[in-house]
């Protein structure tokens, strides 16, 4: 089966120091993949390469067997949605205005939003239970609500693959859990998720597969239960952690210093 996204020998640097040094990976349709790695390891860069915002300096990235530069940015945007880290907007666009931007890849040159576009955007807000925010300014809602708004835009885009850059960062505990819940729900509807995170637990909870990136290369790649373990986390973050299994399935990470080596 052709992988949905295939990264082949990808190399990238911004200035002199290489950020990614020959990355290889393949992502299948319907997977939830979590990218783990310390700050500056190249997670965000890899994400931007996969959504076509950056182009690899060497190697290639294929979407469904076609190199993404040949897919065309508009076609790619109908397939892959980019969910950036939460941000503020300089202008108080309404949540609906932002969700509607997701229709741009389906439009030509001088476009107007049709009634159908509005319906699609409303539907996306409804699915994420933020319909009540439709007219609220994006600048005045909470971080969690902003993140959901951007996810609503991704749904409006009609893309089947969501590539998310640290979606949980900056959210409070409750919002993080609600976000994971939404991702889990959408993944059951058949969406593919590639997301980066700083919490290995998030991988253990809702991802099928974890990819650990260190110094611009893949350190480990495989099912979460195999990859997210004490040894790998130590190697990745240089932090001593115990991964504890509760009830045989649910797993937690507990710092060794605190757990005292249970």
């Amino acid at each position: 089966m052709t992988p949905l996204i295939k990264v082949e020998e990808v190399y990238f640097r911004y200035s002199r120091k290489p950020v990614l040094t020959g990355i290889n990976l393949a992502i299948q349709r319907g997977e939830i993949v979590t990218l783990l790695g310390p700050n500056g390891c190249g997670k965000s860069t890899l994400i931007k390469l996969m959504v076509g915002v950056l182009s690899p300096l060497a190697g290639r990235i294929l979407y469904d067997g076609t190199e993404i530069s040949r897919v065309g940015s508009k076609n790619l945007a109908r397939e892959i949605a980019y969910v950036p880290q939460i941000h503020k907007s300089a202008f108080p666009y309404s949540v609906m205005d932002i969700a509607l931007m997701g229709r741009i890849p389906h439009k030509t040159f001088f476009f107007r939003y049709s009634k159908e576009d509005l319906e699609i955007a409303y539907d996306a807000l409804r699915r994420l239970s933020i319909l009540h925010l439709a007219d609220r300014p994006y600048t005045e809602i909470s971080g969690g609500e902003r993140q959901l708004t951007i996810i609503a835009r991704a749904l409006t885009q009609g893309a089947g693959t969501f590539v998310m850059d640290e979606p949980a960062t900056g959210l409070d505990y409750g919002n993080q859990l609600r976000l994971l819940e939404q991702i889990d729900k959408l993944s059951h509807e058949g969406y593919t998720f590639i997301k980066s995170t700083h919490s290995p637990e998030h991988a253990l909870w809702i991802a099928d597969r974890a990819i650990m990136i260190k110094d611009g290369n893949i350190m480990a790649d495989g099912p979460c239960e195999d990859v997210v373990n004490d040894a790998n986390l130590f190697q990745l973050y240089n932090a001593r952690v115990n991964v504890i299994r509760v009830d045989g399935s649910l797993q937690f990470c507990v710092p060794q210093a605190i757990s005292g080596g249970i």
Binding site: K48, V51, G52, V53, G72, S73, K74, N75, L76, A77, R78, I80, A81, Y82, P84, H87, K88, S89, A90, F91, P92, Y93, S94, M96, D97, I98, M101, G102, I104, P105, K107, F109, F110, F111, R112, Y113, A134, D135, P137, T139, E140, Q157
Partner: protein, 338 residues
């Protein structure tokens, strides 16, 4: 939602009314009823008009006041639309059309031609060419480096703007202080008194065309103001859409200097006022800015003509009235400055 749209017809109606009143106002006031009669007679050939009076009105209304009113509408709309477009594209509500140096370049072009050439046409050509040239330099500087394009363009604009401001100082320094220098200074204060039908026929089409094209592209402005990466991920060819919008904004604002010299503040404040009326969605904001800007400049020009016995340069009126107006409105507007 989308209540903002309702403002557009209201604003348009206001604009038509104020234009009619502006035709009537002046050193020789014409009753509004006569203005109406005259135009009905002229366009539809209805009613009867005394030939002497018809000639007088024709001269006053068609040759003197109408060009000026059209110019005011075009300039107000152009400056406001280019300001709104720049604010969205540079993701900064404090940006004005002068950001990339177009006004500095155009001022230099005008001053230089006033000193070295005698013909008014040469002055207008030079104004336009140097306005475009200044932006070209800003864009060229931005293209020389790799990095955040928005930031580099702003830096390029600062450099280009300063360059032409210094060059303008040189021109002022070498200009004849009795005739040329006052002419340059007056021109830099802005004024609609030199507008004639000839200039209008030449600038109106590109200006109206640029405004309409910017309005048609305004759906992209929302996405551009979320940053380049997001806009790209939405499938927008960011680089060329931005260059096109910069070109349109530059064309519009350079032509305002060609018509009436430097008119400050309009491009900065009108988009804010429009945003307070209709909200930040550029699809509605761009046409709203055009209407509010046209209305504002028309009223300011009326004030410039009527307030004192001598005409006040309109650049002075727009800023003097605009600044307190802006301060008051900002106090009331809690949104939009996050």
């Amino acid at each position: 939602m989308r209540v903002g749209k309702l403002f557009l017809p209201i604003l348009f109606a206001c604009l038509v009314c104020v234009s009619a009143v502006s035709l009537a106002l002046g050193k020789y006031p014409v009753p509004l009823r006569d203005v109406l009669f005259f135009f009905l007679h002229k366009t539809f050939d209805v009613g009867h008009l005394d030939p002497d009076q018809a000639g007088l009105l024709n001269n006053l209304l068609i040759h003197i006041r109408l060009p000026r009113i059209i110019a005011a509408l075009l300039i107000g709309a152009s400056l406001s639309v280019s300001g709104a477009s720049f604010q969205a594209m540079f993701i900064n509500p404090l940006v004005s059309p002068s950001l990339l140096g177009v006004l500095a370049g155009a001022s230099f072009g005008a001053a230089m031609a006033m000193v070295f050439f005698k013909s008014w046409l040469a002055v207008q050509m030079s104004t336009f060419i140097f306005g475009l040239f200044a932006v070209l330099i800003a864009v060229g500087i931005a293209k020389m480096y790799k990095g955040n394009t928005v930031l580099l363009l702003v830096l390029g604009g600062v450099i280009s703007g300063s360059l032409f401001t210094s060059l303008l100082s040189i021109i002022k320094y070498v200009a004849d202080p009795f005739n040329q220098l006052p002419a340059i200074t007056l021109w830099l204060m802005g004024g609609l008194s030199r507008v004639d039908m000839g200039t209008l026929t030449f600038v109106a089409t590109p200006q109206v065309g640029s405004i309409i094209l910017t309005a048609l592209f305004s759906g992209y402005l929302n996405a551009l103001s979320m940053g380049d990466e997001e806009a790209k991920a939405l499938g927008i060819p960011v680089e060329w859409v931005r260059m096109l919008l910069i070109f349109l904004a530059t064309l519009m604002s350079a032509l305002t200097v060609v018509m009436a010299g430097m008119i400050g503040w309009v491009g900065l404040i009108i988009p804010h006022i429009a945003r307070m009326l209709v909200g930040p969605d550029n699809k509605i904001l761009i046409p709203a800015s055009a209407l509010v800007g046209a209305l504002y400049l028309l009223v300011m020009d009326d004030l410039s003509r009527l307030l004192l016995n001598v005409e006040i340069p309109i650049g002075i009126t727009t800023s003097l009235v605009g600044i307190p107006f802006f301060a008051i409105i900002l106090r009331r507007a809690r949104r939009g400055w996050a």
